[in-house]
Amino acid sequence: MTALHLAKAALLAVPLWLLLSSLLRLKPSWLKHLASLAVGFGAAALVTLVTPTGILSYLTTFILMACIYAVLSVGLNVQWGYTGLFNIGVAAFYAIGAFTSALVTTRMPTGLNASFTKQLFGLGMPFWVGVLAAGLVAGLLAWLVGKPTLRLRGDYLAIATIGIAELVRLFFQNERWLANGPQPLRGIPQPLSCLTGDGCAWLPGFVNSFFAPLGPRDYPFVYIAIVALVLYLVYRVLERAIRSPWGRVLRAVREEEASAAMNGKDIAAFRMQAFVVGSVIMGIGGALYAHYIVSIDYSHFDPLNGTFLVWVMLMLGGSGNNRGAILGAFVVYAIWSGTSFVVDALRPTLAAISPELPSRGPYLRLLFISILLVFIVLYRPRGIVPEEKVVSLDRDL
């Protein structure tokens, strides 16, 4: 085992630790965390050792993207799964989060760059400020959309969110002054990228020397730890909020609106809260995406990647259950990436059918995913992991 293996294993241990500690039922909690940290690190070390470098890198980026989608899926779960709000404009909040964080963390271009890249502002703030700003702006947008629509039948919210997603995308496509128009906005900083470079000045020397073997191409290993932490945090906060009177009211509103109102619950206010909270989480997801992909433009946030996939993830995983939402994100993203291999493998066959077909392979995946959604709606509307029966768990809080 080399120092490089060790550094990678240490970083990969973070998502494993968080996963295990959420699955294990062990008291006291320090023991649980210790155990899952140990097991997590062991497993990470083993995987790092036995997996060829290329596959390990692929696996890492796969998990990374799946985690980002899991954030979106969990956000949508607050709206649809717990409250029954039909938001078909996930892409709007995803996009606005990504662009907000990008603008907040990049610096205003200077010199020659300034003539290539136009942006409204560039504050050069740290990553976490960008993430918070992303959530805030996405939440604000949700409030604006929700105000006229949430008191009406669900279909109205649906069409309004389709509209806002299209408009947000068009806006970022056409307004050069805002975030470089149709051109990508480049150079979004990657948090802790110093670990894969010359070392971080603010970290103690031994940490830097421990991670010194990592090169810039190993950055996904660093980012996977960060994304996993954010996902875990979002998950924990939501689980708490859901298993509390707040979650109980959301469920009551979803199940029997009239009775919830007669029980003194301000239905519109609770719907708005759920809508805003879900959108804030989607905005955070957007920020995570932007800092990973470094260079973003409007086309990343089309209805397919930004909204449709997230819906299939949540529906397949199980609406009304955060674990289901996360599981769904991994399964569907695996299907999505896996089918791309299948389509690649089928290239010769497709070419035999029609010379145009191989280049249209991606759309076969879209067709498959669409059919999958209809099948879930028809045959398994509760998903893989159905909703839990009891909301109020004052013992388990």
Partner: protein
Amino acid sequence: MLQRSAAAAERPFERFRRVASGKAGMLLALALVLLAIIVTAALKGVPATQLLSLFVRGVLLGGMLALGAVGVTLVYAVLKMANFAHGDTMTLGAYLGLVVVTLLPKGAPIAPFSFGYEFIVALLVVIPAVGLIAFGLDQLAFRPLRARRSQSVMFAMAALGLAFGIRSLVYIFWGADFTFFYTGRARPAVELFAGVRVRPDQLFILGLAVALIAGVYLLLERTKIGKAMRATADNSDLARISGIDTKRVILWTWLIGGGLAGAGGMLYGLDVQLRPEMGWWLLLPLFASVILGSLGNAYGALAGAFVIGIVWQMSGAFINPVYSQGIAFLVMIVVLLVRPEGLFGGRR
């Protein structure tokens, strides 16, 4: 003590709300929107002729939107579901029309139009074909949900799956690029009046849209199945008890809705271009029209489509036309804020 004398009096705020959200208030608001557009355009120095021709373009666009909107609203009225696949049904119609046009031997253009007999044949094929496809998709995806009495959002979600499914098929068979029914054929414009220029094709489009909608009007008002559809829309349980064949009503709803959507898609493709995303982009203006004219009200949808079409085109005089969707969205939001039940809906 209680103020018994005040019992009958309205509070001023309530009175304002009631007036503002009445039909008159709504019409006033629409008139104000139109006025605002004209004033803004005038301030920006847009010549009156251009404004007038944009108005005419708006009426034309309204005709095409109406073909889609009537289908959306009929499906909503009879089946109580928002069909988010309707826009993509229009796309499907356009591309099926393209297939027929390419398969047939090319004829000379019928003067003064840019298209030949093939386009007419294609329309005659596409209208029933898309109607039947729409019904088939209903039987596949929505009927089981109806049988299970699923929530309305589950219908919407199934529709979303169908929308993406249809679009992916369009991508697979025809690719992602835009195309035309007749590539490279000149489409000259003629002067209609007072410097307003339109292409003859557009007059044909408007004429056909009006004719089709008149046909639907006659069908709804004069025929037995039309009456059955209206009865089902009013109260489906009552309709079923009184011996109306609900299955037939559903069949006809999709035949009409799908057929009109197919025609609308073809006409839009003739006027603008064919694109796999065209229907998805039309979805927002379609629903804006339908909501403006009250969900489930066929005549309301018609009026809504023309209003949206006109506002959409005229606002293009001073804002970037790529945001025309935004105008439709804005009108819809205003309606939802002021009078969510739309122009022709009754107060709850």
